[in-house]
């Protein structure tokens, strides 16, 4: 028999899984996170769960090019269409891309 406080604790513990990100439907060797895309390469976005960047045109299926990616810097610069965005690496890690040949 669980007390009410134990039930509440259990609920709180369970809540942490509610918002957990679903895995991207792409094989690990086929795509990687945007922050690993080498400078000068072009790629297609396979997964993006960051609404802020989706609203700026980095939606699934859109094509982008890496304008600048220096591992020592906290940001990258990508070209999406005619726009150039400075993206935080933390956000870039949330975006999975597939390199275009």
């Amino acid at each position: 028999m669980l007390f009410e406080r134990h039930r509440a604790r259990l609920r709180r513990w369970g809540r942490q899984f509610r918002g957990r990100q679903k895995t991207c439907p792409c094989a690990i060797d086929q795509c990687f996170s945007l922050d690993q895309l080498p400078q000068g390469s072009s790629a297609i976005i396979i997964c993006n769960r960051n609404l802020k960047t989706i609203e700026r045109g980095l939606y699934v299926g859109s094509r982008l090019s890496m304008f600048r990616n220096d591992s020592g810097e906290p940001n990258i610069i990508v070209a999406a269409g005619d726009a150039r965005y400075v993206l935080d690496r933390r956000i870039a890690r949330e975006i999975r891309v597939k390199v275009m040949e």
Partner: protein, 729 residues
């Protein structure tokens, strides 16, 4: 229909909304080539055939999600005021991204007109847009414009008049079939149960049944926002509806394997992609542009930072060197007119000595002094305007990001700090473009460290007096020292009260523009006018107050003689400032610092007024006027050494921001942060100025003061850390 129909200008940041606003209303609002020029809506009147329209310039937004305060300002305005026409301005050179907001506005059912801006840049990039065809898809007219040149207004005016009278219903967007099914269920439930309480949400308006703002479209929009997880609308749902709505949303997420908000965004872009494919033709493949070529150098890992410092140094060098020839001319003309001629004129009228002194020497002299600061301020504002209009500001934010991270702020926070070179008040307002509340407060606390235009007269005045040959270096050094102190403070605050990580940094790099002469002059004129008006008013008030306080005397002097109240007050504060080199006889310096709390420009006026009075008292008006630089000599003697002048300047640089900036801090972040800024900055200014003075004028007693200051620093750090443990942001 309203007597004065409302036209709202909406669009992405930096697409030319303010340019169109100025063109329509004849207003002279500041425009710039960086995101966040407009952070609150501005209104103006546009007249057409004796009919008046209220035009509202909304802040630039990417969507109606309401993630940042400027997005909320724009969204709330559209929802609550229900404008009669929304002119959506979209950048033709980046149509796909811009149409995302257009689609959201269409979902609101708002009567719309789409203006394509920057069509010249699009043409240069080989982009051709069939505007008529685009309009037929969207359900409302599309008009191509070039907003940074003279507007071809007739067609636009005609369209505005027609659309306000006969609004056209925008086309509706269709989502994936499964999404549409669930959307329909949510929508039907909301309509059936009045789930969102139409009155409470402010969306129902039965008087305007014929208007495109009808209930059905609005409720569909609400259903979409619920799927997107809008916190405001979700919070308003009845508990019974909430469960049902959550079930439908979960079904959408399961079907697409995506977050529901991403599903909606993806489908909107699907619609947009189809549109763009149909109406846009590219003559050249979208490759690297001129801006990209410049950025290869400007943002280079090795060259970027030196270029950034060189640009900033050139700004100050240009301001000092270009203004030199004008300072002498303005000084001579204004002194001749406002001091000499006015003094003689007043003497011929037989006015009493004290009134003549107040009007010609104090007030006229004060205005002449401020007049000499107009050239450097004018040139510094011109330089900043060129930087802003060219698009370099956003690049500077990228370069500064490395340092900004170290102090716990995202690089985007560098833009408000740069705006602070003009004035702290708009700089605090510009922090609204930052997404996280923590970043907004943190950046606002650091903005006063950046020397605003009002501090420049103080630096120039004392710099020219004490270091006539190296004044430009001293001024640049003070600006630089302010930035260093901001970084040190930021570093300390990051370790104590702002312990969490800075918000994510997403910023658009606008293409470089050739700044237009009109834009630069307008920008500069706005700032210069503010400076002259504020400085003029403050100096007038401060000089009147100072003279009144000098006339009122109390028998509280050292030997019981009558002493002016101002002198008594100044002498009361001076002992506190003595460790930083303000001698007890230099009490006018203490009074000047108090007057600087109202506005920093008042410091110079106060010093001149008080030392002018001292000189006049000692020699008589005519004699003191005849001796060129007599005021300057007495000022030099009062400060005693260049060490005390440097310490005084450092105190001016760091101490509490002016009353207007404190009010803005209160408005944006509340009493707690306003008091923190006032107390922390004033204490820091005293400590740093004392430390600098004691090191520069080292004596036996200096060690005591240096040790005391270091202990103070440690105590402040421990105190802030303790506060941070309980209330860290």
């Amino acid at each position: 229909m309203r007597d004065k129909p409302i036209i709202a200008l909406a669009g992405n940041p930096n697409v030319g909304k303010t340019s169109l606003f100025n063109a329509l209303t004849g207003a002279r609002q500041t425009v710039g080539n960086w995101p966040g020029v407009t952070v609150e809506h501005k209104s103006g009147i546009f007249s057409l055939h004796n009919r008046h329209f209220e035009v509202i310039d909304l802040p630039g937004i990417y969507s109606l999600s309401g993630g940042t305060p400027d997005e909320l300002v724009a969204r709330d305005y559209i929802l609550n005021e229900k404008p009669d026409l929304i002119i959506n301005i979209a950048d033709a050179s980046n149509l796909e991204r811009n149409l995302y907001l257009t689609v959201q506005l269409m979902e609101l059912g708002a009567p719309m007109l789409l203006c394509l801006s920057m069509t010249d840049i699009a043409r240069d990039n080989g982009i051709e847009i069939d505007a008529e065809h685009l309009g037929s898809h969207l359900g409302f007219p599309v008009l191509p414009l070039v907003l940074n040149r003279r507007l071809e207004s007739e067609q636009l005016f005609e369209l505005i008049g027609n659309l306000v009278d006969k609004p056209q219903l925008p086309a509706s967007i269709h989502y994936d079939e499964v999404v549409e099914n669930h959307l329909e269920k949510i929508w039907q439930r909301l309509v059936k149960t009045k789930g969102l309480g139409w009155e409470a949400s402010g969306l129902a308006d039965s008087d305007k049944a014929g208007h495109s703002y009808n209930l059905l479209i609005q409720s569909r929009w609400q259903a979409i926002k619920l799927i997107e997880g809008d916190p405001y609308l979700s919070g308003q749902l009845q508990p019974s509806d909430k469960q049902q709505v959550e079930k439908e949303i979960a079904a959408i997420a399961k079907h697409r394997g995506q977050e529901p908000a991403a599903v909606i965004a993806d489908d909107r872009f699907g619609f947009i992609r189809g549109l763009v494919k149909d109406v846009v033709k590219r003559k050249k493949p979208g490759n690297w542009t001129f801006s990209d070529a410049v950025d290869k150098i400007v943002l280079n890992g090795i060259a970027g930072l030196p270029i950034f410092f060189a640009v900033m140094y050139l700004v100050f060098l240009f301001a000092v060197k270009a203004s030199e020839p004008f300072i002498g001319i303005i000084d001579a003309v204004l002194n001749w007119l406002l001091v000499d001629q006015l003094g003689l004129g007043l003497a011929s009228l037989g006015l009493p000595h004290w009134l003549r002194f107040m009007l010609s020497d104090a007030l006229g002299g004060g205005i002449a002094t401020i007049g000499t600061f107009i050239p450097p301020i004018f040139f510094i504002y011109i330089s900043l305007s060129v930087l802003e209009d060219s698009g370099y500001m956003a690049r500077a934010a990228f370069i500064a990001d490395k340092f900004m991270r170290r102090i716990g702020l995202p690089g985007k926070a560098f833009i408000p700090l740069l705006v602070g070179f003009g004035c702290t008040v708009p700089a605090i307002m510009a922090t609204r473009t930052l997404e996280s509340p923590r970043d907004r407060v943190f950046a606002s606390v650091l903005t006063p460290f950046v020397s605003c235009g009002a501090k420049l007269p103080v630096y120039t005045f004392l710099g020219m007096l004490f270091f006539p040959r190296k004044a430009d270096l001293l001024i640049f050094g003070l600006y630089f020292f302010g930035i260093v102190m901001a970084m040190l403070t930021g570093f300390m605050l990051k370790k104590t009260i702002f312990r969490s990580d800075p918000g994510n940094f997403v910023m658009e790099l606008p293409p470089y523009h050739k700044p237009t002469l009109n834009g630069i002059m307008l920008h500069t004129w706005h700032r210069l006018k503010d400076f002259v008006l504020r400085a003029g008013k403050t100096i007038l008030l401060v000089i009147i107050l100072i003279n009144v306080l000098q006339i009122i005397k109390l028998p509280w002097g050292t030997n019981g003689e009558n002493t002016p109240v101002l002198e008594l007050g100044g002498k009361l504060i001076t002992p506190v400032l003595q460790p930083m080199g303000v001698d007890k006889d230099n009490w006018p310096a203490s009074v000047a610092l108090i007057s600087g709390l109202f506005a920093k420009e008042a410091i110079v006026g106060t010093l001149q007024s008080l030392y002018g009075a001292e000189e006049t008292r000692g020699r008589g008006v005519e004699e003191s006027r005849s001796q060129d630089g007599a005021y300057d000599n007495s000022l030099k003697q009062a400060f005693g050494s260049s060490a005390s002048a440097i310490a005084f300047l450092i105190f001016v640089l760091l101490y509490s921001p002016c009353a207007a900036a404190l009010t803005m801090l209160f408005k944006e972040h509340g009493t707690k942060w306003m008091l923190f800024a006032f107390g922390y900055l004033t204490a820091l200014a005293w400590m740093v100025a004392t430390l600098v003075y004691q090191v520069l004028a080292f004596s036996a007693g200096s060690l005591y003061w240096i040790a005391t200051i270091l202990v103070f620093f440690v105590l402040i750090y421990i105190n802030l850390r303790n506060i941070g443990r309980k209330h860290a942001l």
